[in-house]
């Protein structure tokens, strides 16, 4: 996947972080623009129309979650959150507000680039791909078929719905709340049933459910399908 010429907006008030992100991202072929405040970031989005936003939550003028929410009011630009806040509540709030991914500082550049690639790939593919495959797992969305090593796996409708939601957002963390909403609809909030179904799904798909390879748990936040 090429990122050459893609515009990325880095929003962070730490000059040192700005500097190494600029070096690394430039090295990858991104065109980097920078903002230090939330207001500047929102302006920059309207003016520069970036293809990707890397956003810190602790900004001098407003909270990053609020910035995310405002961007999402009219833009679908992928947002990756970088933050020192490691509490699950913050992650959930950011993801529920519409962020695509969340990375806790400090992070390795390799990790960030991997996340960027995932987000960009999903962005370019859209949700239109009818057949999803990772490793030996194949999910044929058009025909509602799930196969492991070419063998069909029988899933209950709920399990299938969960898998489909994860596939549609492959590589992205879906919060428990988002997943419940996608599968059971608005207003349904029974974590218990979600856990049981995910557990069942893993037993059917994963070679070792104790060390899952496809459906990863983001502790306290939600699930992510490997891609």
């Amino acid at each position: 996947m090429t990122v050459l010429g893609l515009k990325v907006l880095v929003v962070d008030d730490e000059i040192a972080i700005q500097r190494f992100l600029r070096v690394a991202l430039n090295g990858q072929g991104f065109i980097v623009s920078e903002a230090i405040t939330g207001q500047a970031a929102l302006q920059s989005i309207t003016i520069n129309r970036p293809d990707l936003v890397i956003l810190d939550l602790g900004l001098p003028d407003m909270d990053g979650i609020e910035v995310t929410r405002r961007m999402r009011e009219w833009s679908k630009v992928p947002i990756i959150i970088l933050s020192v806040r490691e509490q699950e509540d913050d992650k959930i709030a950011a993801l529920d507000a519409g962020a695509d991914d969340y990375l806790t500082k400090p992070f390795g550049m390799g990790e960030l680039l991997a996340r960027i690639r995932t987000v960009m790939r999903r962005q370019s593919n859209g949700n239109s791909e009818p057949v999803f495959s990772v490793g030996v797992l194949v999910v044929d969305l058009a025909n509602r078929l799930v196969k492991i090593k070419e063998e069909e796996v029988q899933l209950t409708p709920t399990e299938y719905d969960i898998l489909r939601s994860l596939v549609n957002n492959a590589g992205k963390v879906l919060t428990n709340h988002q997943l419940l909403k996608l599968v059971w609809g608005e207003g349904y909030d029974d974590l218990h049933i979600l856990r049981v179904n995910v557990s069942n799904l893993r037993h059917k798909l994963e070679p070792d459910p104790s060390r899952p390879t496809y459906i990863h748990t983001e502790p306290g936040v939600g699930y992510r399908l490997k891609m």
């Binding site: 490691e86 699950e88 509540d89 400090p106 390795g108 974590l191 218990h192 856990r195 049981v196 995910v198 557990s199 070792d208 459910p209 104790s210 060390r211 899952p212 990863h216 748990t217 983001e218 502790p219 306290g220 936040v221």
Partner: protein, 881 residues
Amino acid sequence: MNPRPDPDELLKQLQAEEPSRGKLKIFLGYAAGVGKTFAMLEAAHQRQQQGVDVVIGYVETHDREDTEALVHGLEVLPLRQIDYREIKLPELNTDEVIKRHPELVLVDEFAHTNAPGSRHPKRYLDVEDILDAGIDVYTTLNVQHLESMNDVVAQVTGVVVRETVPDKVLDDASEIEVIDLPPDELLNRLKEGKVYVPEQAKRAIEKFFRKGNLSALREMSLRRAAERVDNQMRNYMRTRAIQGPWAVAERLLVCVSASPLSEKLVRTTRRLSDELNAEWFAVHVNLTSKPELNPANVERAAKTMQLAEELGARIRTLAGRSIPEAVLAYAKKHNVTKIVVGKPIRPRWMEMLSGSIVDQLIDTSGDIDIYVINEQPDLKPTKIPEELRPHQPYWRYILALGLVACVTIIGHFIHTRLEPVNLVMLYLVSTVAAAVYLGRGPALLTSVMSVLAFDFFLVPPYLTFAVSDTQYFITFIGLFLVSIVVSSLTARTQEQADAAIQREAHTSALYTLGRDLTSANDLKQVAEIVITHISEVFGRDVAIFLPENGKLKMFASTMDYTPDANEMAVATWSFEHDQPAGVGTDTLPAVSLRCQPLRTSRGQIGVLGIHPKEAGKFLSPDQRQTFNAFANQAALAVERASLAERARQAELLQATEKLQTALLNSISHDLRTPLVSITGALSSLREESLNINQEDRNSLLETAYGEAERLNRLVGNLLNMTRLEANAIHLRLEPSDIQDAIGAALDQLEERLGKKPIVVTIPEGLPLVSLDFALFGQALVNVIDNAVKYSPKDTQIDVDVTQTDKDISIQIKDRGIGIPEDDLDRVFDKFFRVSRPESVTGTGLGLAISKGIIEAQGGKIHAALREGGGTVITITLPKVK
């Protein structure tokens, strides 16, 4: 007499001269109108001119002009108005005096009895408080108000003086000024109307103011003052080891019995001892063969002994088989020279039967003189308080009658077959039964009724008291005497048994209290135990007051009971003065809470209060004794607990200090080490002159990156620890899949695990557990990370999950070096690191955090040695929350 200064005397002298306590000066007169108040005011003016800060606390001028004129120029403190039956009684305001804190305060009428509802029943006790506060007091007193003069005055003048002060206050006064006026002059003043005479008491007063009376009183006051001067002179000579003119020191001993007349004996002995300047003892003997059971008598004897102590006697209660023996043994041991006993008031024939104590004393006294004092029966009979009377409901008597009726009916049916004389046995049995079960009175009734019924119904001729055969009289007398003797013996045994049971109950209550207290390990538990026990034994509300920042506060009490402001005041007073207060004491008796200071060898530490559930129910003397014993036990326990608490706190403080030092050392070391590596690696890379090849560059970069990650982990751990300790962790409980949690933890550890084999065993159908998933994951990560760190690279780690009905256990087993057995519990301590191996780095926080997290969610974690080498960490989580 030893010519050396007696150390005790010196000490007493010093105490009397002690500057912290105020000095008391008494203006002593022999009757109203001699000019005591006037003299006191004059003296006050003189002192004021000398620059002394003088105020009037209470002065009664009786509207006499010359006296009133003297009040002018002196500051008069406001009086306390006490509401009593809709009238206001002005009283000395002790608190105001102490607050104002002058150098000298005038308080008239030392022997005054305060209005009901005052703090103390007597004014002299208020004065004691003022003296204790370090304020000098001038006061006035008439000689007839002295306790030891009380009965003499009554004999001479026929007037019983009710307002008395103990003689001790006179002895303790720093100065006495006798205000003397010849009786003729006083009578003149009376005629001129210069002496205040209350209208209603005019005639009585006039009777009192007779020349003979006045002369006698005058002599008494002069003699009393002279005695005191004499005492002072002796004291002076004694402390300076001047050989005195006195003979061998006399020692007096007075025998106190439960008789109401013993009081007089005590007073007499006091006067005698004053005259002889002798030390004196008051002794009460408890007979082991015939213990005193009537609570009223016990109470009276205790009161008399208390009076003796107030009058200056050394008191002692002895136990012995006979009174003369016990008294003489004690007297000889203490070199007593004279024994004072009362003249027996029992009828002569009883003396002859049981032997006279006085005769026995005289026969066996040897060198000791025996003074026999005539005990005049007191005018007022001592009334036994209602609640102290033995409980004897009428039904017992009715039952006794029923018993006789039954025996008579049975006798009626069988008397044809038995000799009437044998029927007597049945009556005897019924008498014994009555004595055992119904008590003394009913048993006596049974005896009498038995004889009558036997005669009336069973001895021919029937249904008449007449007797055909005179030999039956022998039977009657025999039956009567035997049943009387048997019943009184049985009843006495029964009473003794009852008393023993009572004592036993008290002893066992004390014992259980003591036993329970040993198991208590903090102040709160001690308080709870004390309160539960006391409220159980006495059926009352109980409260414990302890000082907090110098102020007495209620620490604990029986449920639903909170002391009101008055009761708090009593407790505070009791604490500050280290004396019992409240109902049944001399201080604030109107308040229904009885307070006992909790006192130990290190001083008072609090107050124990007991409050009757119904008003007006007092503790009996027995109960009071038990209560005091409880208070002593409680004091010791409270002290022990507070000492333990203090020790614990000191220990904690020490531990905290140690911890802080360890923390600083550990943190500074652990934070710096990675920084050293990072800085070193980066600075090497920056230095162009170093000429590092690509391979080394990569290695340096790897080092810097690895160390940065380590630093990050350390900071994360420190943050978690801080949050845990500050209780700042907010649990987000959600239904969690244990398998999922283990998977997520292994996922997070992926990089650090590398190719290390990990085998997870999980049973089917494991229920979800309510957990903070993320935090629990963190705990698992720390435990597994530890297992990885402390075991050789290729060895396997097992994660086994098992479940029981109640909980789920997760065991993380490694094949590492293991933990020394002694350290198994300590591995979860902060900054604790098993001393080996050297290469392993860490802060020693990981397991501590895991423990904190798991315990916060209601789980448990512990470490054990694994069979075949290695360590097992077991995490147990309850299934239901």
